[in-house]
Symmetry: C3
Subunit: 148 residues, 3 copies
């Protein structure tokens, strides 16, 4: 069996993917923390179990939870696309250098995006969104070019 162990392009992708999986988990924890501190529960069974005495579920999210959910949602619109295109790019025969540049650019930009979203920083957030998107677009164009 010929796996991808010792392929340097794959290794960059693998480490970045693992970091992004951990980052997505931390964003879920952050949302849970906002939910707990603002006592904002939409599921009645959550209000009963985790809310303070007498907490009622509300159909609308508190502003802090809504922001945390937008952070996660923006990740969902970008990170799974990276998971796919990054691996396809590696499997299409990317150089170690190209893979490292694309994968680390994407990963660092997305971590920065989350931090700037949490801290309400504009235009930093839009800039970092664009940098990460350009990494995905660059790999997508490269993949089309190589496999046509």
């Amino acid at each position: 069996m010929n796996l991808l162990t010792n392929n340097e392009a794959f290794q960059a992708y693998a480490i970045c993917s693992a970091i992004l999986v951990l980052k997505m988990f931390l964003s879920a924890v952050y949302t849970g923390m906002q939910r707990s501190s603002s006592q904002g529960y939409v599921n009645p069974e959550d209000a009963d179990r985790f809310g303070k005495q007498g907490t009622q579920a509300s159909p609308t999210e508190t502003p802090a939870v809504a922001r945390a959910l937008r952070i996660q949602r923006n990740d969902l619109e970008n990170i799974p696309a990276f998971f796919a295109i990054g691996l396809v790019y590696v499997l299409s025969g990317a150089s170690a250098f190209g893979a490292a540049v694309y994968c680390w650019t994407f990963t660092i930009a997305r971590i920065g995006h989350t931090l700037s979203y949490m801290r309400e920083l504009q235009p930093a957030r839009s800039l970092l969104f664009t940098v990460a998107a350009l990494a995905n677009i660059g790999m997508a164009v490269n993949v089309i070019w190589k496999n046509l």
Copy 2:
């Protein structure tokens, strides 16, 4: 061409991924059923086409649809991360045993998560969320360790 046929670690990942794709589809069907039974349409063209005579679209989701959408959303925050890290874990040279344990743990926990979300069961839902998240985290840490 050297594919991954007959790699046992890959086979566990492949079957679990396929089950999760089918599970995600069934969750979409479930949301559609809630929409139909609560006559809750947000798109006017859907109310016209699928609603009972005289049904109006509403900008807010009915409680039953909102819950079904939260089930799907929670899947989106977890399952694509599994798709990525599970494959990277296999391609990094996972043992058949390790892959089977991680992949089946994740898959069964996520199916249980959906069922307990549908039936409003806490703390079962939070527990199953955590078990599945730990499977992803375990693979992510393993991938970083192996590829550093």
Copy 3:
């Protein structure tokens, strides 16, 4: 290193994945355009930075933005599943013909889904959703069959 260069099944998957990554980016741009033209900002820092003089953030999305977000959300419920099952299907030893049929069916149906969602066309949108879902289901069943 034995990569997937010159594997025709992989090449169909690779090109379709790249197109879908670009399509997801264009859907994000479309949402941004709806946000700008309806001046609908939910983050105060966005209203300050990108809104016209005196624009206030609103906790609820404008109808045009809400529709654009539903288009993206529907993609998230389907395209990452394709990314995963398409690659697993190829790595399980798909024929070039089978991969081309499944991947192009899915890709064209999803592009058609977005266009019919933008133009409020039913039942075209539901039909195209179903066609794309059937492609994913077909690959999932095939993967389970081959790897059992």
